[in-house]
Symmetry: C2
Amino acid sequence: MRILVLGGDGYLGWPTALHLSEVGHEVAVADNFARRGYDFEMGVDSLTPIEPLQTRLRAWQELTGRSIGAYIGDLCHADFTYEMISGFEPDAIVHYAEQRAAPYSMVDRKHAVYTQTNNVVGTLNVLYAIAEINPDIHLVKLGTMGEYGTPNIDIEEGWLEIEHKGRRDRVLFPKRPGSFYHLSKVHDSHNIEFACRIWGIRATDLNQGVVYGQQTPETGRDDRLATRYDYDAVFGTVLNRFVIQSVLGKPLTVYGNGSQTRGLIDIRDTVRCIQLACEHPADRGEFRVYNQMTQAMSVQQIAETVAAASPDAVVIEHLENPRVELENHHYNVVHTGLVELGLQPHLLSDTLIESLFGITKRYAHRVRPEALLPTVQWRKTASRISD
Amino acid sequence: MRILVLGGDGYLGWPTALHLSEVGHEVAVADNFARRGYDFEMGVDSLTPIEPLQTRLRAWQELTGRSIGAYIGDLCHADFTYEMISGFEPDAIVHYAEQRAAPYSMVDRKHAVYTQTNNVVGTLNVLYAIAEINPDIHLVKLGTMGEYGTPNIDIEEGWLEIEHKGRRDRVLFPKRPGSFYHLSKVHDSHNIEFACRIWGIRATDLNQGVVYGQQTPETGRDDRLATRYDYDAVFGTVLNRFVIQSVLGKPLTVYGNGSQTRGLIDIRDTVRCIQLACEHPADRGEFRVYNQMTQAMSVQQIAETVAAASPDAVVIEHLENPRVELENHHYNVVHTGLVELGLQPHLLSDTLIESLFGITKRYAHRVRPEALLPTVQWRKTASRISD
C-alpha cells in the first residue's frame, strides 16, 4: 500500500513510518517541524538526540535500501495539503500532525486557540482533500483516550448503544474531555464522522492511551533513527517521565492522590496498531473507532511499578494536581477491536522499564531538571476568582 | 443589569438589544458587520431595508430616550474582546456573533474552515476574557437545535441521564449535527462546558429552533428599527422563505419529501427567552442548556400552513434535497426549561403569517428571484465519487 504519515517527524509518526516501510509499504512522511519548534519555545529537548529529518531518512535508506518520501509543509495551508495528496496518491493517510500536549494547550489563551485552530483546520483540509481528490483514501486519525474523560459508565469503542424512554439508538459516545487539546480531538472526531456521512469517505479514529517506551525494532537499529524521549512536564508522558526522574534520583511526581487511571500502550504496539488499521481499512462511509490501549493503570500504580523496577531507592512524591480531573473514578474500557484485527499486546513489564533505564542513563547528562516540574495550572486563568 | 449583545447588528441580535433596552437594562452591542459582508459576497440582501447601525441606534434614542452603546470589532481579535468586556463591565454577555447559516458553511472548504475558525475562536476568546476579567459574568450563548441532529430517542435539554451495563451517569447529550456550521456550535458547547468545569464560570447554552417572523414590538415602531428579513436559500429560514415565495407567486420549495421535522420559535419569543435567561443566571460552574423552541413541525406542514394562509393559490414543489438529512425520523424534544422561567410561547398562527404577507408585499420589488433556489449541495465536494 501507499501510506502517507502526517506528522512523520514526531515521537510516534517517525517510528510508524519506519515500521510501515519495514513491512513493505510505500511510505512518505509530512511535517512542518512544529514539534521541534515547541522545544525552542519551552526551552526543552528530547532526552535522546534527534537527527534532522533528512539525516534520518538517509540513514534508513543506507541501512535498509528502502526510501521514504518527505513533504515539508503545514496542513493548514490547503494548497500544500492538496498538492501532496494529489502527488503521492496514498491508499491510506495516517494523521499524527496535531499539537498533542494537554499542558501546552492550557498555557494560556493563545496556546488554546493555536491548538484548536491548528488541529481542527489541518484535519478539515485533509478531509476536503480526500473527498475532492480520492474519497477511497482511508484516513487513519490519531485521537486520544482523554477525549472520553472519566464517565461513570464503561467506555465503549466510539459508539454507544443507548436506550432512553423506551426507544433505542446508536450514538457517538458522549465525551467530556479534560483540556483544550483533548477538546480539539473531540471536535475532529465530530467533523470526521460528518465527512463519512455526507461524502462516503472511510475513516478510522484511534483513541490512543498514554504511550510509553522509546524504541521499536526499527528505531533501535541505529542512533540516527532514534525517536524522541520527552521528559518535561509539558510533553513527557507519565511513565517515561517517572523513569527519568528515578534515574536522576529525583522523586517521582504524582499529581493528586494518583488514583487517576489511564489507558496505556507500548510504543511497539502503537506502530503495529497503525499497520493493522491501514491493512484492514474501514468501509466507505464508515466512521470506525478503536480504543488503542492495552491496559489500564492508575498513576500511583505506574509510579510504584517504576520504583520497583529501579535499581536505586526511589521516592514517590504527591504534588497538588495542576489539572482539573477526577480522582477515585470508574474506569473500564472496551478495547477489543484492534486485538480482533491481530494485535498481540506487549504488557508493561520490568524488561521494558529496564531498557528505558539504559537509554536514560546513557543520556542523563542532557536532562534539564527544571523541566520536570509542572508549570501549567489548569485553573490559572481563573486566578482572579475570589471565591 | 448591564448586558452586552455580541452580534447585535444581526437578524436576532438587533431585536434582542432593543428588547433588553426596552425592559430597562443597560445594553451595548458589538458587531464586525460580517453578516452585511456575506450579502455582498452572495449577491443577496435583506428584503427589508436595513439602516446603518449608527442610524438604528440614533433612531432608538430619538424614540425612547434610551441609549445603546456600540463596539465595532471582531471577537477573533482578543485585544478588542478583552478591552470591550473590561470597558463595558457586563453582568451578562449574549453571544450571537457567529456565522449562522448551514448552507454558507457548506459552500466549499474555505467556507467550512472560516465558519469553524470564526465561531470557535471568537467563543474561546470570550471564555478566556470572562475567566480573566470577571468570572461572574453570565455567558448566554446561542446554539441551535441542529446540533442534535435527529436521534431515534427523545432530545433532552443538553444533558442525558444514562444507564449502561448497570451503571449510571449524567452526560452531555450525544450530538450528530448536519453541517460544518452546526458542528461549530457543537465544538463551542464542548468548550463552554469545559470552561464552566475548570474556571467555575456560568453559562447558558440555548439550542434554538428555526426562527420565523420579522417584527418585535420594538422593531415595529419605526422603519429605521427594522431587522433583517432574509429570503435567499443560504440565509433565509424556511418559513420566511415560503412566505416570500407565496407572495411572489412562486412554488414553495420543499427539500425532499418534507417529512424532516424541526423545532420552531417566533422571533418575539426569542428576545423574551434571552431576557429570561439573563435575568435568571446560571450558577457559578453551571453549564445550563435550554432547548429554545416552542413547537415542532415538518417542512411539509410549514409549507401547507403558509399555503393555507396565503390569499392567493400556492403550489408546493418538492426539490431533490441538497442536504444530507434523514426523512421520516423520530422527533420529540423536551423544551420546558424556558417555560419554567416564565416564557409564554406565541404559537404559529395565521395572524403572524398574515403580518408577514404585509411586509413581504411592501418590499416585493426588492426580491432577487434567483436567490430563492438552493445552490449549495452537501454532497458536492464528493461529486467525484463514482459509486
